[in-house]
């Protein structure tokens, strides 16, 4: 049986070491379980790119990780020396990737023990380009086909991609997206090439998110800014000028963050740094209000 090699890559930014150690131990354990079951997983390399102002890990920490935590996997660490954002950070890490699959993962995500037994299954179909894990305890709200698992896009909180496709698509569009919608844009480009995205509910991963007691998100101002900026850029790149206009008009009347989004968009426009619009026939891109797929519910 052919084994599949995987590079898991995470961009870290001032993460707490203990939470990273926990995630690393879970990855190593999941590999152990799969090996004991003679599963499909071959070699696994965990690659952290550090976009923090100061390195999260010192030499002794890296030694500890390699010797104490990584019994079944190999570990690499790269301090970028600048704040790359997630899109660029992942592209840097992927440059040296020579494994069959590349897994984009938030650094604090904890894999379930039998993760590898489930995440590969949808790749039995050649047209599957990307498989997304189910987040718990707060599952992502987007819709997916119950029978086939097919979905419109995948979040890269934890998603496995054929490396060949990732490289053919030249990774994430880091020129356009800093922190948000890089995964959405990548998903749609993957689908534009004829590949499908599968959501795998049997591969849960723990993602430490919380809601306020009235069941709403509590984003930071940075998260709010970058998600608004990404929304305008997505609409522009994916040929939805009416949505661009609508968003800019709303943001112009908004607060400081909203107006900053407008300034940045206009700055890029005036300097010719906006992306070339694609999918002008709207074969793939779908905008459902503020969302990019149908949802089972709205959080």
């Amino acid at each position: 049986m052919q084994k599949n090699s995987v590079q898991i890559q995470s961009v870290i930014f001032q993460n707490e070491k203990e939470s990273l150690y926990k995630a690393i131990k879970a990855i190593d354990n999941a590999v152990r379980v799969n090996r004991e079951a003679d599963g499909l997983l071959g070699d696994l390399r965990l690659y952290y790119g550090d976009a923090s102002p100061e390195p999260v890990f010192m030499e002794k920490d890296i030694k500890y990780i390699k010797e104490e935590l990584c019994r079944n996997i190999s570990f690499e660490y790269k301090f970028f020396g600048f704040n790359s954002g997630s899109a660029k950070g992942h592209n840097i890490l992927a440059e040296t990737c020579n494994t069959d699959y590349i897994m984009i993962m938030n650094p604090d995500v904890i894999l379930s023990a039998h993760f590898w037994g489930e995440i590969f299954k949808p790749f039995a179909l050649d047209k599957t380009g990307m498989v997304e894990a189910r987040q718990t305890p707060l599952e992502h709200q987007k819709e997916y086909d119950i029978k086939t698992g097919e979905t419109d896009w995948a979040t890269t909180a934890c998603a496995l991609i054929r490396t060949s496709i990732f490289k053919d698509l030249k990774g994430f569009d880091s020129d356009t997206f800093f922190l948000y919608c890089d995964d959405l844009d990548f998903s749609w480009r993957l689908r534009l090439e004829g590949f499908s995205i599968i959501y795998q509910p049997l591969a849960p991963v723990f993602h430490a998110k919380r809601l306020s007691h009235n069941a709403s998100w509590q984003p930071t101002s940075a998260e709010r800014y970058y998600s608004m900026e990404a929304a305008v850029l997505m609409a522009y790149k994916w040929s939805n000028p009416s949505r661009v206009k609508e968003l800019l008009e709303v943001f112009k009347k908004g607060g400081e963050l909203e107006r900053k989004v407008v300034e940045e968009f206009m700055k890029r426009k005036n300097s010719g740094k906006l992306p070339e619009p694609i999918d002008k026939n709207h074969k793939i891109a779908r905008f459902y209000g503020d969302f990019y797929s149908k949802n089972r519910y709205i959080l």
């Binding site: 926990k22 131990k25 879970a26 190593d28 354990n29 379980v33 904890i110 379930s112 023990a113 039998h114 299954k121 189910r134 718990t136 305890p137 707060l138 599952e139 709200q141 119950i146 029978k147 698992g149 795998q200 509910p201 049997l202 849960p204 991963v205 723990f206 430490a208 998110k209 919380r210 809601l211 306020s212 007691h213 009235n214 069941a215 089972r296 519910y297 709205i298 959080l299």
Partner: protein, 483 residues
């Protein structure tokens, strides 16, 4: 205890609530009053205390019958993500067949070492669904004990929040906010059922504990609770194994009566409500739920309770607590709509002349129909027992022997609530609508349709209270005039 009893009891009368309180505590602690604890569980507790080698904050009790392996895996996954790892897990396999036992063993063996070393797997092949709880609690090493069923989900701060609260209010029951969320199983793989969220998390259980509401219905899912171990281990407050539903409510309240409670105003987990899978809601009939509920309410009446300041304040200032704090349990919504018809045959309304009805619709809507007894002159409709509801869009239709329907308007029936615009607000128990049918010719059935809500606004409360004051002063003035 004996000295207090001797010092104080001599000074208070036979019917003193303090005497009654202490007598009931003594009964709980006595062998005769609590034989199950003394004979079955105290030996286990004693052994567990002797085995314990280190201090542990929280024992997590997870019951499983091995029927939901994916859900059990996910529950353990949530525990592996905790920010505070000062806990142990007791997985109680209840009536597992050998396949089920092997499956649970395999699931435990899969776990990462840090969690695996915290798990003890105990098997139990007797008793009902309540027995594993007692067995787990008796075997627990922790200072606190929580129930995490094999389909509950918890956030990364579940243990951490309990631990913080225990540090500030030690010895109390800890109560965290919990989201309710509808889930379903999906067949994505021929051999395994996947799990899928169906609706957004709701905030039905994100409310503080209100004693008088909790005495009527339970709105605190077990996943949001942690119990001080000593009330079980030393005071003998154990689960009632005669109950096979709402056993958690009964145990929770009897523990709170003695220990008090601390609210944690942070949501730390999700109580999953299965839309297409087996659960306690589907395994038991409404009649069984109702019967168990009656048993529990009668037990509450016999419990020793020491009211603290907050609980007294809930009674003296109901408006301060009912609005923001009142919540609706998805599991017990059926108790908000619990229709009953009383009929007066000339001798007044009595329990003997009453008919319990069924709601043909779903909360918050009600639709119920009763056959009218031939000697009935007046009818009284109670939508539930507890009150604290608003009735809206009420439609009452009486059908006569010829099949003709008579619509009863809001001006044609009396009620013991407060009319507020086109609704009726009931702040007190026994909410009633009374209809005089003596002038109708051969009525044979009566149908009630409408909507209930427990969302009583401040305006409504002020309005109702001002009406009560006016009514009170009118009575005073009237009595003075008569005098």
């Amino acid at each position: 205890m004996e000295n207090i009893y001797t010092d104080i009891m001599g000074e208070v009368g036979e019917f003193s609530p303090v005497r009654n309180y202490f007598n009931r505590i003594r009964e709980i602690l006595s062998k005769e009053g609590n034989s199950k604890y003394h004979e079955e569980y105290l030996p286990i507790i004693t052994r567990a205390n002797a085995e314990k080698t280190k201090k542990i904050f929280l024992s997590v009790i997870t019951r499983t019958q091995g029927k939901r392996p994916e859900a059990l895996r996910e529950t353990l996954l949530c525990l592996s993500g905790q920010t505070d790892m000062d806990f142990e897990v007791l997985i109680i396999g209840h009536k597992l067949a050998s396949e089920g036992s092997s499956l649970v063993d395999d699931i435990i063996e899969e776990q990462e070492t840090e969690l695996k070393n915290r798990i003890r797997f105990l098997e139990l092949d007797y008793g009902n669904r309540t027995t594993p709880l007692n067995y787990g609690f008796a075997n627990a090493y922790g200072d606190y004990i929580a129930i995490l069923d094999d389909d509950d989900l918890v956030f990364d701060n579940w243990v951490e929040e309990f631990h913080k609260a225990a540090g500030i209010w030690p010895g109390t029951v800890l109560h965290a906010y919990i989201f309710g969320q509808k889930w379903m199983t999906v067949e994505t793989d021929k051999s395994t059922l996947g799990l899928r969220a169906v609706a957004k998390p709701n905030t039905d259980y994100c409310k503080d504990f209100i004693l008088k509401n909790q005495l009527y219905m339970n709105v605190c899912p077990p996943v949001g609770l942690a119990f001080p171990a000593n009330t079980f281990k030393k005071l003998g407050i154990i689960f009632d194994e005669d109950l096979d539903t709402t056993e958690d409510w009964d145990f929770f309240m009897r523990t709170v009566f003695v220990s008090g409670i601390t609210d944690i105003k942070t949501a730390t987990g999700i109580y999953r409500l299965w839309t297409n899978a087996e659960s306690s809601a589907t395994l038991h009939t409404q009649k069984e739920w109702a019967q168990n509920r009656e048993v529990i309410l009668q037990k509450f009446e016999k419990c020793p309770v020491a009211l603290n300041e907050k609980w007294i304040s809930e009674c003296t200032h109901p408006g301060k607590f009912c609005n923001e704090q009142q919540s609706i349990s998805a599991d017990t919504r059926k108790n908000i709509i619990h229709p009953k018809l009383y009929y007066d045959d000339g001798k007044g309304f009595t329990e003997k002349n009453s008919i319990s009805g069924e709601n043909m619709d779903q909360y918050p809507y009600f639709s119920t129909e009763f056959q009218i007894p031939t000697d009935a002159k007046k009818l009284r409709f109670d939508v539930n027992e507890a009150g604290m509801v608003i009735l809206k869009h009420i439609s009452i239709t009486i059908t006569d022997i010829k099949g003709k329907g008579h619509i009863i308007t809001m001006n044609e029936f009396r009620h013991n609530g407060h009319r507020f615009e086109d609704t009726i607000v009931y702040l007190e128990p026994d909410p009633q609508l009374v209809i005089d049918i003596s002038s109708l010719c051969d009525p044979i059935s009566i149908a009630f349709v409408g909507e209930v809500t427990t969302n009583i606004s401040d305006n409504m409360i002020q309005y109702c209270n001002s009406r009560l004051k006016k009514s009170f002063f009118r009575k005073i003035i009237s009595s003075r005039r008569k005098g």
